[in-house]
């Protein structure tokens, strides 16, 4: 396969061809679905959250190769993180972990960040107590 040329680097191609965490989660605690204004694509991330931590994550993507790879990588990266940590997740982390994306494809990784945050928002909406600051919690 050494004479095979690829549009993306080998990490991106691997995540595109063998996506991790593809699918839906039964009884997800938070689901986020967002569309890219730029190209019109859609990404959905589902989260399983236990004791303030992301226990499991799944994605489904209607989009280009880099969008599929970005969602695969994003779900890998966020598993095990606390909600607070996940709230500050940035697409740059996805880009770095993927070893870079072409400039025109950066927005696909933004889609992954947005889908994750939408899923977290959904969770918080359902569980407002989860993010209540400790000092505001009645003793």
């Amino acid at each position: 396969m050494s004479d095979t040329y690829t549009l993306y680097n080998s990490t991106v191609m691997d995540h595109f061809m063998n996506p991790r965490n593809m699918g839906d989660l039964k009884d997800a605690d938070g689901v986020g679905e967002v569309g890219a204004a730029a190209c019109g694509d859609i990404m959905k991330i589902s989260l399983k959250i236990r004791e303030g931590r992301i226990e499991d994550a799944r994605f489904k993507t209607f989009g280009c190769g880099s969008a599929i790879a970005s969602s695969s990588m994003a779900t890998e990266l966020i598993k095990g993180r606390t909600i607070e940590e996940a709230m500050s997740f940035s697409n740059q982390e996805v880009v770095n972990a993927l070893g870079g994306l072409p400039p025109v494809k950066i927005h696909c990784s933004v889609l992954a960040e947005e889908a994750l945050k939408a899923a977290l928002e959904d969770y918080v909406k359902r569980h407002p107590e989860a993010v209540a600051k400790p000092e505001s919690v009645p003793a």
Binding site: E33, G35, A37, A38, G40, I42, G63
Partner: protein, 421 residues
């Protein structure tokens, strides 16, 4: 792994006989056609013969009506800008179809920034130009009408003789882009009533690096490349002699084999579309049905609920080379303007794939493509939130609506907060 090349619209393999003919012009006959010595005079002869070969392919009256450029883009730029500038005093209005190639569209946009105006004539859902609208678009200030012969995306064959008659009646020069038809459909520049016609030999087994522009001897055209007096002063620059020689051979063979090549790809085209339709649910052919209205080598499909770049990449990983008009494939993140002009739903434009057949494709190739593509679609739909939402009745199909759920576009707008294109 089988490899199936289905992107003949982008490039074709060079004919071995064309390659052989080119070879000595790199190393032995390297003279410049502008030189007055033996080396120059020899290649001048070759240049003349190559013009005759191109003239014969498109029914030009004389080889003096054939100009060589570097490619189709340059030909289109020369045709549009060269005619506009030459007739500037007569008027500054242009008429083009809404589905011209980007090299025509962007040349027109360039002129618009300099004070020209342009009317883009709409096409119908199959991509055919509306003749009534064309007639109405022409004004006393119009100096050029540009309509392609075959659409580069969806293969529609324009009623080009009718377009020619409209232009002749109005006395306006007509430029016909034959980039997607030359070598595959018979072309008669005189019967078309064309003042200018462009085509590229690399679409019919000639080399890249050369384009052909036919110009009727009475059509006014000024140069847009300034330098020496090559090509009758209308295209300065040293001629790419090896490519021009190879292109001549390709034109000669294309003229000879045109009907058998077309019949061959037309058979495969029907087999391909019938096969895809039978194996892949929720798929749509864009452009006219295979037959007299469609170029015999083009299939343009939209597969619902999945995006085109993923389809293209997975096809490539299975040895199948195709193109796509999805926004994710384009550097500008816009769907093909042709798909927009035929009013294709954005969701379907996103799932677009363009397959162009060639003389060396076989029935076994086509069967492999159908079988492989069905698997690819299954894999991508399995990853698509849209497919799942369709199955759960949240969104409806555009191709075969069930009357359940909202449209993809409504859904996309709802989740992105912005309307899709």
């Amino acid at each position: 792994m089988r490899t199936v090349y289905l992107d003949h619209q982008s490039a074709t393999p060079l004919l071995p006989e064309a390659f052989e003919a080119m070879r000595p012009y790199f190393t032995e006959y390297y003279g410049n056609a502008s030189s007055l010595h033996q080396h120059g005079l020899r290649v001048r002869e070759a240049l003349k013969k190559a013009r005759q070969q191109q003239a014969a392919l498109v029914g030009a009256e004389s080889d003096e009506e054939i100009f060589f450029t570097s490619d189709g883009t340059e030909s289109a730029n020369l045709a549009v800008k060269g005619v506009a500038y030459a007739n500037e005093r007569k008027g500054k209005h242009l008429v083009v179809s809404a589905t011209e190639h980007p090299s025509v569209m962007n040349s027109v946009e360039f002129l618009e920034k300099q004070g020209w105006t342009c009317t883009r004539v709409p096409v119908n859902a199959e991509g055919f130009i509306q003749l009534d609208a064309l007639r109405k678009a022409i004004t006393p200030q119009t100096v050029l009408v540009a309509v392609h012969h075959v659409n580069h995306d969806i293969g529609s064959i324009q009623p080009i003789h009718d377009v020619g008659a409209v232009c002749a009646a109005a006395g306006i020069p007509l430029y016909v882009d034959c980039e997607a038809s030359a070598g595959w459909l018979p072309i008669d520049v005189r019967a078309m009533g064309a003042s200018l016609v462009s085509f590229s030999p690399h679409r019919f087994y000639g080399p890249k690096g050369v384009g052909v522009l036919y110009r009727h001897r009475r059509a006014r055209l000024v140069s847009i490349l300034h330098g020496g007096v090559q090509e009758g002063g209308r295209r300065a620059g040293t001629e790419n002699i090896p490519a021009i020689v190879g292109a001549g051979v390709a034109a000669e063979v294309a003229a000879r084999e045109l009907s058998s090549r077309s019949a061959h790809v037309a058979r495969l085209q029907t087999r391909l579309w019938d096969g895809l339709l039978a194996k892949v649910p929720f798929i749509k052919l864009n452009g006219p049905l295979p037959g007299p209205g469609r170029a015999p080598n083009n299939i343009n499909i939209s597969t619902e609920f999945i995006e085109g770049e993923g389809q293209l990449l997975l096809c490539d990983l299975h040895g199948i080379a195709v193109a796509s008009g999805s926004s994710c494939v384009s550097k500008s993140l816009k769907i093909s303007h042709v798909l927009a002009a035929i009013g294709l739903d954005h969701a379907l434009a996103q799932g677009n794939l363009i397959l162009t057949l060639g003389k060396d494709n076989t029935e076994a190739d086509v069967d492999y493509v159908v079988e492989t593509f069905a698997k690819i679609v299954g894999k991508l739909r399995g990853m698509s939130p849209m497919w799942d939402e369709f199955e759960r009745g949240v969104i409806d199909s555009v191709i075969a609506p069930r009357g359940v759920g909202r449209s993809f576009s409504e859904h996309a707008a709802a989740v992105s907060g912005k309307p899709a294109h």
